[in-house]
């Protein structure tokens, strides 16, 4: 990046080898920042967390609106009930997520990381708590250097306590997606959770605490797979957070009110605030680095400094490699959003989305599995008939109880003995045993193909056909 600038920017010192990589980690004291992109980040913190904390409390059809009910092996999502047989939809959803990630990364870099990733969002929340309790960056650094005192102990205890409370609530909410919230809530007062529910609340809570409170940028730097392969989705037209080296260098401090040309310097006043606000502790002026999560905190910080010294904003800004190299403006950058890579990603994404919606809309609200009763093969019964017995699993995927009617075809004179109907509860499975009778001379010895026809009593137009075989004794 930024290869046009005459003097290369100072390189970061090479990372220490091997085991020391984690040990020598300098704690990053992130300076709080305000501005346009900070507002966006906070908007997404609110949005994602209202959804995450709120969704398990929502009711729908007299049940939890979103519940991945592991015990019942059914996923409830508003009006839908998904069964293990619907794993196809989950697979499609994952493909959509992957393509969406490719698409947005190709256009504007790590949007996901900077604004929506839970790691970013919880770190943001935990840092806000830290700032409220311990004070701003300088106060925090001073506090950490100070010897232990009752005051320090109190402040630290308050911070860890508040973090712990958020973490526990997060763990509780997480488990509420898999175990009904109403049952969990009833257990809160007595802490009478099931052992594994308790385990997972503490497990998820502990990891929230560890990742957002303690490890923070290290998760992105060392543990995130996406950070490692993001580069394959980038190209010279990808919007990334860029320091305009041509404009900024040579950087340096200067007297207030002096313009850059007079001072013989670039626009960068080398205040270092872009480094202080960076949650991963890098210097964006060294060019694009894999540690950069694209949060744009340095843009907000630099813009404020530029305002203060009276230079135009945008010394650090969203730009592309080509734009910096060729001096493009916004119009050219937008013009290059549509390029083969994004068009391919976009087309595939739309196609899969359409397929997903279409599949969901035309999903059969009824499913039947047929198992021939192996214990009694073709058997002669009274009246010169051959009898075969079938076990049918009827799945009612709707949320109303329904009656289903059976019919069978394929051989002359074929009929079902006894009741042709079965009642199935809402979103439930019902096993039915059907005796099917055929005149002894209507088929050939061995297997004969037959078809079961099943339809709901209240909707004859919805017909399901299931093939199976009818056995004649040899």
């Amino acid at each position: 990046m930024n290869s046009t600038a005459p003097n290369p920017s100072p390189k970061a010192p090479p990372p220490p080898e091997g085991d020391t990589l984690y040990a020598v980690r300098q704690k990053v004291y992130v300076r709080a920042v305000t501005g346009l992109f900070a507002n966006w980040r906070w908007a997404l913190v609110w949005f994602t967390q209202i959804v995450f904390y709120g969704l398990p409390w929502l009711q729908w059809n007299d049940r939890q609106a979103v519940l991945f009910h592991l015990t019942e092996r059914k996923f409830y999502i508003f009006g839908w009930v998904f069964w293990p047989q619907d794993v196809f939809f989950l697979a499609i959803l994952l493909i959509i997520s992957a393509y969406a990630l490719f698409f947005f990364t190709a256009i504007a870099g790590r949007l996901w990381c900077g604004y929506a990733c839970p790691q970013t969002v919880y770190t943001e929340i935990f840092m806000w708590i830290e700032e409220k309790i311990e004070g701003d960056r300088n106060k925090r650094m001073k506090l950490d250097k100070a010897p232990m005192s009752p005051r320090k102990l109190g402040i630290k205890a308050a911070k860890y306590g508040a973090w712990g409370a958020v973490a526990l609530w997060t763990g509780f909410t997480f488990v509420g997606y898999f175990s009904p919230m109403s049952e969990l809530l009833a257990s809160v007062a007595t802490l009478g959770f099931g052992p594994w529910e308790m385990f997972w609340i503490l497990f998820y809570g502990a990891f929230t605490y560890l990742f957002a409170g303690v490890m923070r940028e290290q998760v992105c730097k060392y543990m995130c797979p996406y950070a490692r392969f993001q580069a394959v989705m980038f190209d010279p037209d990808t919007l990334v957070i860029t320091y305009d080296e041509g404009r900024g260098e040579p950087r340096g401090a200067r007297r207030k009110g002096v313009d850059s040309a007079t001072a013989g310097k670039g626009d960068c006043v080398d205040c270092g605030i872009c480094v202080q606000v960076c949650p991963t502790g890098i210097d964006i002026r060294n060019g694009l680095q894999y540690e950069c999560i694209g949060c744009a905190a340095c843009i907000d910080a630099c813009d404020q400094v530029m305002d203060k010294v009276g230079y135009p904003r945008g010394l650090i800004r969203y730009s592309t490699e080509n734009a910096i190299k060729r001096g493009w403006g916004t119009k050219e950058i937008i013009g290059h959003v549509f390029r083969p890579r994004t068009l391919v990603y976009g087309t595939v994404l739309i196609a899969i989305c359409v397929a997903f919606v279409w599949g969901l809309a035309t999903r059969d609200p009824l499913r039947v599995d047929i198992i021939r009763d192996r214990a009694s093969l073709g058997r002669e019964v009274a009246g010169g008939m051959i009898e075969n017995v079938y076990r049918l699993q009827v799945m009612n995927m709707t949320e109303v109880p329904r009656n289903f009617v059976f019919d069978v075809k394929g051989i002359n004179g074929i009929q079902i003995a006894g009741d042709h109907r079965v009642a199935v509860e809402a979103a439930a499975t019902q096993a039915v045993t059907l005796q099917v009778l055929v005149p002894y001379d209507a088929g050939k010895p061995g297997a004969n193909e037959i078809v079961f026809e099943i339809h709901p009593e209240d909707d004859p137009s919805l017909k399901l056909f299931e093939k199976t075989t009818f056995l004649f004794p040899r």
Binding site: D19, L21, Y22, V87, L90, W196, F199, Y222, M223, P225
Partner: protein
């Protein structure tokens, strides 16, 4: 610390994927444990399943780490 993460973290990610795939395909109530049908409640089976997958994957990561040592590290362990 770094080695601990190298063993526990990738195995955690893979175990999560395996858990989802395995239990989507297989009903925990249809499993047999030492010849007897599993009588735990599903949440227990899921949880034990996940921890077992994690453990197995961690063993694999640990083995990778073990074989990754260079000749120098094996010949001169005191220097490392």
């Amino acid at each position: 610390m770094q080695k601990l993460i190298q063993v526990l973290w990738p195995s955690f990610l893979v175990a999560a994927v395996v858990e989802a795939v395995f239990f989507t395909v297989i009903d925990p109530q249809a499993l047999y444990l030492l010849g007897e049908p599993v009588h735990y409640d599903p949440l227990t089976t899921y949880s034990i399943g996940f921890l077992a997958f994690w453990l197995i994957c961690a063993a694999s990561s640990l083995t990778t780490l073990y074989f990754q040592r260079t000749a120098d590290e094996i010949n001169h362990p005191e220097a490392h």
